[in-house]
Amino acid sequence: MTTMLQIAGVVAGYDGSDVLKSVDMTVETGSITCIVGPNGAGKSTVLKTISGLLRPRLGTITFLDKPIQGFSPRAVLETGIVQVAQNHSLFNEMTVQENVRLGAYLLNDRARIDRALAEVEDLFPIVHERAHEKAGNLSGGQQRLVEFARCLMLNPKLILLDEPSMGLDPRTLKAVFDTVKMMQASGRTILLVEQNVKTGLGASTHGVVMESGKVRLTGSSAEILHHPEIGHLYLGGTLEDANTAEGSPPASTSAPAAQR
């Protein structure tokens, strides 16, 4: 396998405070790489620095052997990287088709856009079925699929997904991750951020564990899932463990429970 994306020594943050404190990671061509870690570890921030929404203060991001750090979102998009934002990233007042067409905003060639649309409609029938409905009227899972469809319009090489499972019911969740695998099967590389560790790592080939703005562990997703120490510390062990651990409410004088 070859390396598609390489991040080295990236420092980035908001308002003068650093969220990412020197991040190094690689994404292999054709993989599904899943970043996991506690809230606030900087997972989504990594995606934002790649897609150009956030400018890194230090470090390099190399995509297909070319440096892309500090590029504008548009320039990043032109290199073949597309990001799907965390939630509700459709234009609610526009129709499904308008939304999907906007995915090819960078293109001027109408015929090419039509062709791309036809291809995407093949993969995502919903785009065709609900073409003229307002995107805001779709359910959460349907919206996620339309977002995926839109991101494929430019035929990207690398797709960044920010918590695709957020707020989805199990059935939809399964459909979404099936779609992720399908996108991989059609030759694309995927880098995603997941809180739902088991689902996320379960569907991916590679895993990255982050904590406090740094990468703690990388490896195949199976390795990560079964790494004993990491499993206990960052993935929370099992629910049974937790139930027997600490967890009694404060002293009865100030117990939060109702005692009426």
């Binding site: 897609s51 929404l53 504008s72 979102p73 548009r74 998009l77 032109e78 597309v82 990001q83 799907v84 934002a85 509700h88 990233s89 459709l90 234009f91 609610n92 007042e93 526009m94 308008e98 906007l102 995915g103 905003y105 960078l106 839109r150």
Partner: protein, 291 residues
């Protein structure tokens, strides 16, 4: 009765001009979520621009727009990049202050250039009129109205039939998502602000040809324009059109059937009453329910 019909006709025609002035305001609000207090001062600046072209180059008022509108567009882009784009936090409120400051500076510059004397734009069609029934209708009202309709139609076309319009609407609806599909939102904002300001050049010309003005005229104007876009629903173009026409008709009719001194009072009371029933204005959308 004839008086009322006359008042309605003038109300509709002047309402068109107000709609043109307000359309820039509502457009800028829709895209950037900022209230451009400088709109009133920019309208007056636009009027003086036409005045200068007419006085010094003897350009026809409408021809002059070919110069003033592009120039004002550039001015808008400049203002946006210098003063509005740098606002990071709390843009909505801070932009009110920033644009107010810009209004003060514009007034100051106009005072130096043109003194505070009252002027009105001159052209043959300003005072000529045609007789309809027993009512004289001035050409300038007609021309101003036609200009407004044409420009508003062009704006509508731009927004709903062009790629730029699509990206503009996308930026209005979801800024981050727009950035992620490659739309340069800052550029769109700058252009939108420019368009809003360019529209004031046309609105200012039509206003200046029907009303005498001086650099301080902007204060009355901006309060009316604000009332119009709230009445019509913030961010709604057609709402602004309806509200502008409605406002002027209400005022003109009140002025003839009751008294000019109560015209504004009636309008403002009506505005308050309507906003109590429909807080989002006539055609505005309620802010989405959280969650």
């Amino acid at each position: 009765m004839n008086l009322i019909i006359d008042a309605v006709i003038t109300g509709v025609l002047t309402g068109g001009v107000y709609a043109l002035m307000a359309s820039g305001l509502t457009l800028i609000f829709g895209v950037m979520d900022i209230i451009n207090i400088a709109q009133g001062a920019l309208v007056i600046l636009g009027a003086y621009f036409s005045y200068a072209l007419e006085q010094h180059l003897h350009l026809d008022l409408f021809l002059g727009l070919l110069i003033s509108m592009p120039t004002m567009f550039l001015l808008g882009v400049l203002i946006h990049s210098l003063f509005i784009r740098p606002l990071k936090q709390d843009r909505t409120m801070l932009s009110i202050l920033v644009t107010f400051a810009i209004a003060l500076i514009i007034e100051g510059v106009l005072t130096i250039l043109f003194t505070t004397n009252t002027v009105q734009l001159q052209a043959p069609y300003v005072t000529q009129s045609i007789k309809i029934g027993d009512f004289y209708l001035s050409y300038i009202y007609l021309y101003g109205f036609v200009l407004s309709v044409v420009l508003l139609a062009a704006l509508y076309f731009l927004l709903y039939r062009t790629r730029f319009g699509q990206s503009l609407r996308a930026s209005m609806q979801n800024r981050t998502a727009a950035e992620l599909i490659g739309i340069d939102v800052n550029r769109i904002s700058a252009i939108t602000y420019g368009i809003g300001v360019a529209l004031t050049a046309a609105g200012g010309m039509a206003y200046g040809a029907t009303t005498a003005f001086f650099p301080g005229s902007s204060y009355d104007l901006i309060s009316r324009l604000l009332a119009i876009i709230i009445f019509g629903g913030m961010g709604s173009l057609s709402g602004a059109l309806i509200a502008a026409v409605g406002m002027l008709v209400i005022e003109d009719v009140t002025a003839v059937v009751w008294s000019p001194v109560w015209a504004s009072t009636v309008f403002f009371i009506l505005l308050v009453a309507i906003l109590i029933l429909r807080p989002q204005g006539l055609l505005g959308k309620l802010e989405g329910r959280k969650q």
